[in-house]
Symmetry: C2
DNA sequence: GGTATTTTTTGATTGTAATCAAGTAGCGCC
DNA sequence: GGCGCTACTTGATTACAATCAAAAAATACC
C-alpha cells in the first residue's frame, strides 16, 4: 500500500488523513496471467493502480482482438468511459503477466475528491497528464508510418516491449502483425 | 463575463469569492477574422474561452496546413502542451470568424486552483471531459473510413460545419480535400 | 462589375499497407 | 521429449486513399 501512497505523494501533498482514507478504501488484488480485471459489456466499477505486473485493455472488433492500451508498474488502468459515466462499453481488461494492483471505486474517488482538496488536485494533475499522453499517441497514429510508430513505441515503452507478444503491439499501433513483422525485419 | 461564470457554474459550485477573482483575472479579447490568438513556436501563455465566434488550432506539416481542432461558443482553446508545460510548440491558433473570448494565464489558473477547491474541481472535470472527447476522436481516426469520419463530424459538429471551409474539415479528419469532396458527392 | 485568388470538384495514376495464404518457429503442457 | 497450439514470418495480390493534374465554382478585392 505504501507504494500507492508514494505514487500519489509525487503529485500532491498527502496528508495523514488522506493517507488513512486511502488505506481504508483501496482494495488489493492479485491476478493470474490472462485473468480479467474487467469484463466487456459490463460497467467498469473500479480503477486499478498497478503495483507489480502488466495489464492490457482491448476489445473485439469484427472478431479480432484490438489492444487499446497497456499499464505496468505505477500506472493506472480502467475502462475510462465506462468507469466515469457508469455505462457498459466493449472494453475488457486482462493481466498479461501475474499482476498485483490496488483499486478504487468511483464512489471512493468522488468521496475523496469532495473531502480533500489535495486529492482533487491529484485527480486534475493525473487527468491532465493522461490527456497530454493521449495527444501524443493521437499524433503518432495520425502522422507517422508503421516504421515510425514502431520506433516510437520502442523508445517510449522499452520497459514493457519484451514482455508483450508482438500481435498486441501491432494492434496497439494500428497496424497488422504482418506489417510489424516486416518493419522489424528491415530496421 | 457573466457568460464565462455561467459556464463554470455548470461544472462546479461558484462562490462569490471565486466569481470575483475570475472577474479580476480574466482578460477580454476581440479577434478579427484570421487574426492569431497564438503564434507557432512561441509559448502559449493563455487559455481562451470562446464567448462568440470560432477559432482553429493548426500547424505546418511539410508546407501544408493541418488543422488539429476547433473551438466555438462555450468551448476552451489553447495549445495544451505548450500552455501546460511552458514550452514552445508548433501549433498556432487563429480566428476563423470574428471572435470574442476571455482568457486566463497558467499563473491565474494555478492561483485559482490553490485558492479554491471548487476551481480545482472545475479543472479536473473539464480535463476529464476533454480526455473522453479525445478518446472518441482517436477511435474515429483509427477505425473508421473517410465516409464514416465525415458522418461523425456532421453529427457531432453540425453547428460549426457550415462555418468552416472544407479543407479545414478534411485535414481535421485526417483525409485529403479530394477524398472529402468525393465522400460528400456520394452521400 | 470585373479580375484575381482561393476553394472545391473531377479525373488518372500511384504507393502503401491490408488481406489472403502458407509455412516456420517457439512454447506450454502432458 | 514429443504433441499441439499460438506466435511470428514470408510471399503474392488487392483495395483504398494519396498524389498529381487541371478545370470549375465561389469569394475577395479593387
Amino acid at each position: 500500500m505504501h507504494t500507492l501512497l508514494q505514487h500519489i505523494a509525487q503529485f500532491t501533498t498527502l496528508s495523514p488523513q488522506l493517507a488513512e482514507e486511502l488505506r481504508q478504501r483501496a482494495q488489493h488484488h492479485c491476478f493470474g496471467k490472462n485473468e480479467l480485471l474487467h469484463t466487456a459489456d459490463t460497467v467498469c466499477r473500479r480503477t486499478y493502480w498497478i503495483q507489480q505486473g502488466l495489464v492490457r485493455i482491448y476489445f473485439n472488433k469484427d472478431g479480432k482482438i484490438v489492444t487499446d492500451g497497456f499499464a505496468a508498474e505505477n500506472q493506472w488502468m480502467t475502462s475510462a468511459y465506462s468507469f466515469m459515466r457508469g455505462v457498459p462499453d466493449p472494453y475488457a481488461i486482462a493481466a498479461v503477466e501475474p499482476t498485483q494492483a490496488y483499486s478504487l471505486s468511483l464512489e471512493d474517488l468522488l468521496h475523496l475528491f469532495n473531502q480533500f482538496h489535495e486529492m482533487e488536485r491529484f485527480g486534475r494533475v493525473i487527468m491532465s497528464a493522461q490527456f497530454l499522453e493521449q495527444s501524443e499517441r493521437l499524433n503518432s497514429l495520425r502522422f507517422t508510418s508503421p516504421a515510425e510508430k514502431y520506433q516510437h513505441f520502442c523508445t517510449h515503452y522499452r520497459p514493457i516491449l519484451a514482455r508483450l507478444p508482438l500481435g498486441m503491439v501491432a494492434s496497439y499501433l494500428g497496424i497488422t502483425p504482418e506489417t510489424l513483422s516486416r518493419v522489424r525485419a528491415k530496421g
